[in-house]
Amino acid sequence: MSKHKLPLITPIVAIIGFILLYLPMLVVVEQSFNASKHGQTWGGFTLNWYTGLADNAMVQTTTANMLILAVISTLVATVLGTLLAIGIHRTPWGKKTQYFFDMSINVPVVTPDILMAIALVSVFALFRSWTSLFDPGMLTMIIAHVTLEISFVVLVVQSRLVSIGRDQIEAARDLYASTAGAWFRVILPQLSTAIISGALLAFTLSLDDFILSFFTSGPESQTLPLYIYGSLKRGISPQVHALSTIIFSFTLFIMLISVLKGLRKEKKLAKK
């Protein structure tokens, strides 16, 4: 179903790009079934690393911490980000305020992780002289992750709001809907996919992050990536690969289902 003729080089380079993204994933999957432990070589097929997951307390707690951190920070960032996007979009702000908002959304995007990390660590140390709330631990990690995620949620939601436009809400009002009714029953249902993609992006950012967690974590809040980094010199336990493979296949599976659904819908539309 290609629409434009692209030069042959385009698909070739594109596929090499995909290979670059997926080669490490292939290694992870391969190692999770590889019986030889520090395997540069294939030592036979095994499921031991998967069954061993049930006994590895360290991997379990650090994974749980990683997921708790990702879920809570995603929820907070999604709520704050969605409200922020709606507030910016529907309000008749003056030119200067609008500029201020644009800046506050774009600045976090261009802030390197390590800069955000050291700025937060310094200011947490300052806050600590008043309250012990900011001792390194889960709370400081959540704060750091939310700060990273908010503006990405805003960007995704905002671009959808712009494409929905203002006509629909005016039409709903003409049909005697209240403003709140129009927002909740006309706009929000359309916005939901964008909110979900914003949340997914935030979740991914949290799972992928290493640097923010490294700087803000405490002794009780080790996450999986930190644990792995610490044990890297001894070699990663293949159990970690087993776990990563489970998460990876789960995401792929969900995506495949949604794609198959979409394809069926497309076919139906084509028949009509």
Binding site: M103, V107, V109, L155, D209
Partner: protein, 301 residues
């Protein structure tokens, strides 16, 4: 001043009432960014002018001492070490960015050239590997680029590396790791750019007998510029601060600004000097933002 009523969203109301409610909606998010981003960054700038006290405490005597140290002056005379580290960080970030955009552009075009569902699928496929943490994927490259694996054998076959050598650790491994982890963020804005592309302009240019190169340059590239700049910034700025990948894949030979900062906040316990190094990153971010706005970009994604 009289209250002027206007119609917003089909409702008769006043501008100030709309703004009050808008402040309520944006308040929590803006407050969060102020307390946990703006304030800490400003504090970091102040910290950069303080000194390291005994036992890693902070001595609030303001001076430019850290700045002098950054450009290489110490009690032992001048050395180029720090500047070399900055230069190396910049070099790696720039090359990574060029490679990412070079791969990202064809990827964006290729993805956008599929049917609606397939397009969404391929686009999401870009993000899926990021669900596996950076450290795990980088260590996978460490295994993959080892001496007994197929990439090393291919390279040996073509005589790129000598017998018994491997591709890791080294600069090749660092660039592979960097591109592989930064690529998704390069593709994101490029893909949005391709989706918004007005192909009518391309057809018009063909109708007017422009060759493929001129069509690409004037018809496509000029329209894609905001997307390309966004993609460059989204890759360049994080690459500047990245140090985990070069640490793992470079075999300890690649001291970057990120390593240096981490040292100051870790073993060296010299937060003020670490903050000075952070200010260098702030400056690079601010320059990026200004450039982005100059080329007329509004939002990154």
């Amino acid at each position: 001043m009289t209250m002027q009523t206007e119609v917003f969203e089909g409702k008769l109301t006043t501008r100030s009432r709309m703004r009050k409610f808008g402040a309520l909606l944006t308040g929590p998010g803006i407050l969060w960014l102020t307390v946990f981003l703006l304030l800490p960054t400003l504090f970091l700038v102040v910290l950069a002018f303080a000194q390291r006290g005994s036992y890693g405490s902070i001595n609030w005597d303001f001076s430019l001492e850290n700045l002098k140290r950054l450009v290489g002056f110490s009690s032992f005379g001048w050395s180029a070490d720090n500047l070399l580290i900055l230069w190396r960080s910049l070099k790696i970030a720039v090359f990574t960015t060029i490679l990412c955009v070079a791969f990202g552009l064809p990827m964006a075009f290729w993805i956008a050239n599929h049917g609606k569902t397939m397009r969404t699928f391929l686009f999401m496929l870009i993000m899926v590997p990021s669900c596996t943490n950076l450290v795990i994927r980088t260590s996978a490259w460490m295994t993959l680029l080892g001496p007994d694996m197929f990439p090393a054998e291919i390279a040996r076959f073509f005589g790129i590396i000598a017998e018994g050598e491997s591709l890791y650790p080294g600069s090749f491994a660092v660039y592979i790791g960097m591109v592989s982890s930064m690529l998704p963020f390069a593709v994101l804005p490029l893909y949005t750019g391709v989706e918004r592309l007005d192909w009518g302009v391309v057809e018009a240019s063909r109708d007017l007998y422009a060759g493929p190169i001129r069509t690409f340059y004037h018809g496509i590239l000029s329209q894609m510029m905001p997307g390309i700049i966004a993609s460059v910034i989204l890759t360049l700025v994080p690459s500047l601060g990245m140090y985990v990948i070069s640490d793992l894949l470079g075999g300890g030979k690649y001291m970057l600004i990120g390593n240096l900062i981490q040292q100051q906040f870790g073993a060296a316990m010299d937060w003020p000097f670490g903050a000075t190094l952070g200010v260098v990153l702030i400056i690079s971010s601010v320059i990026s933002l200004i450039i982005f706005q100059k080329v007329g970009g509004k939002n990154f994604v």
